[in-house]
Symmetry: C2
């Protein structure tokens, strides 16, 4: 195994560490904006294998990243299940909110594989295109954590406090558990299909994990993640799963131990040294530069990067951000960051 990312995910303290960035294919890149203008709306871009392949590969060409991540969105799963989805410029995703049993049963009847066919075709194209010049980089597939996907499905978009979805979890526990089961099963099917199509690792983005009380975190973040990891690893014993329970805070240790993930993504607020001490040695860590430090550059970028590298030396580690790259980030700052990591 020569790919740095896969060696780190297998528990090897590769140094300098592999590096890639969440949302590395995105609006901060002029070449992305050019393709985006051509594609029409965001869903059309995600379901156009030719264009999705192109934007997936752009950051590898420009920066030589150690990983490509499939260009898609965590909401393509509810979309594939039949929920209305569109992306409004500057406002984020808008969905028809899921209210009760009738909405849920309608989604549960939809066959997943057919709708995701163009996404799987993108996986195959990207993997084929990476052979050769990008042969040292690995391809990561992904899905949202079931709870985070449920947040958007129930709220109908982003929210300040996610009171509707948390209220459903507290007040309609049977309905909410059925929704979580549907999402957990669909996520397993979706990730298994991505693996069959060629991804070499998968990541679960549970961006809103941190808004839950500890009891709900155990029920709706840890338990479904464990089920996903167990099922995927039973079919593919060497397939690494990266969990990203954003803002898990004090429950990060329990999450890592009880889900069985091979790697944990750290959010911006997570102290690398504390996280390192809290998680078993074999678990790889990934993260966690503040995306704003990357945007502003200069001393902030250098000092924050140096601090993370110094805390992680000797540990299985993958350099990344603590949250997605911000749209205004100058591409030169990304190039400088990659140079710094490679010089560690």
């Amino acid at each position: 195994m020569t790919k740095l990312l896969l060696r780190a995910l297998a528990g090897e303290a590769v140094w300098p560490p592999p590096v890639w960035l969440m949302r590395q294919a995105g609006r901060y890149l002029p070449e992305y904006r050019a393709v985006r203008a051509q594609a029409g709306d965001f869903v059309s871009l995600c379901t156009n294998p030719e264009l999705a392949t192109e934007v997936t590969l752009q950051p590898l060409r420009r920066f030589g990243m150690d990983a490509a991540i499939l260009f898609s969105d965590i909401l393509m799963l509810p979309w594939a299940l039949g929920q209305d989805l569109r992306f409004k410029a500057g406002e984020g995703p808008v969905l028809s909110p899921l209210h009760g049993w009738a909405d849920l049963e309608r989604l549960a009847q939809r066959r997943l594989p057919q709708a995701i066919a163009p996404i799987l075709e993108t996986v195959g194209r990207v993997r084929a295109a990476m052979e050769g010049a990008m042969g040292d980089a690995a391809l990561i597939g992904f899905a949202g954590g079931p709870f985070t996907v449920a947040c958007y499905m129930v709220e109908g978009g982003g929210s300040k406090d996610f009171a509707a979805v948390r209220g459903m979890a507290f007040q309609q526990p049977v309905l909410f558990r059925r929704l979580m089961d549907l999402l957990t099963e669909s996520t397993i099917a979706f990730l298994a299909a991505q693996i069959a199509a060629g991804v070499e690792a998968v990541m679960l983005f549970d961006s809103w994990a941190g808004i839950l009380s500890p009891s709900l975190f155990r029920a709706h973040v840890i338990a479904p993640t464990r089920r996903i990891v167990t099922d995927l690893r039973a079919r593919h014993p060497k397939l690494p799963v990266i969990g990203f329970p954003r803002l898990a805070g004090l429950l990060l240790g329990e999450y890592a131990r009880d889900t069985g993930v091979q790697a944990v993504g750290l959010d911006t607020a997570a102290d690398p040294s504390v996280a390192r001490a809290m998680l078993a040695d074999g678990i790889a860590l990934q993260g966690n530069l503040d995306p704003l430090a990357l945007l502003v550059g200069g001393a902030a970028l250098r000092e924050e990067t140096a601090g993370i590298l110094s805390a992680m030396r000797g540990r299985p580690f993958i350099f990344n951000l603590g949250h997605g790259i911000m749209p205004g980030t100058p591409p030169e700052h990304v190039a400088e960051l990659v140079r710094m990591v490679r010089a560690a």
Copy 2:
């Protein structure tokens, strides 16, 4: 010392624990809404000693809470320093954003004590009114954590990602440090004045502590808090300080150890058992029921409350919420919660 709250803050594992709730004086109470309608705008209510005293005492009369907390707002400090402040219905606070040195120096010239006189008068009135029938309850004063106050001052209100204030911390470190020094010193003066006027404990609400990278958290949450605690305790060695670094996550232990606070408020996401194990035995814990469980009531309220009580038995502990009470909360749910805590 017979007041339960002060005994818990002094490190005694009082059981059943004392109980009060963040934002216990507020819109969910019909008697509060009646006074609010009479007061005009929110700032007028905070600076009207008669009405502010009345709303401070309302939850004690109705529920027999173990503490009153001065009715005020963390933004009354920048208001007292001369920054424009108004509260827009449904939108939260609006301030004239602080941009640079000129704005800062203008605020630094303002004398604090004069503007805060009505707030201090409220403290004296509340304390006097509590003698007798409410003599077992303690009066808590408060201020915002300097970083959280800076968030609103620089952004001009709430924000989705607080990019302006974090950007200032990264890009204009000298200016930002001067702002933090001004706020730290003003906070010490403000809290010392509240103590002189009669509060028996103080709480620092650092609601946005969790949005910072670890290095900025140390510089702008831990360091100013340590300075405030050290200064107040030098003047009043027995005066307890409750720190509430919301979403501190993995840095909660370092915060408690390095600031010297006597008690730590836990946010909704913080697991009580993990927090208990992480913090030294003498430090009291306060929290952390999900306000949404209080709003929905029923099994969610009973189970979440029981879980927290069971995790905290034998520890110096004060029952509270993990965030402020929500406006739609039925007052009967609060009464039921207080009964449950008293029956622990």
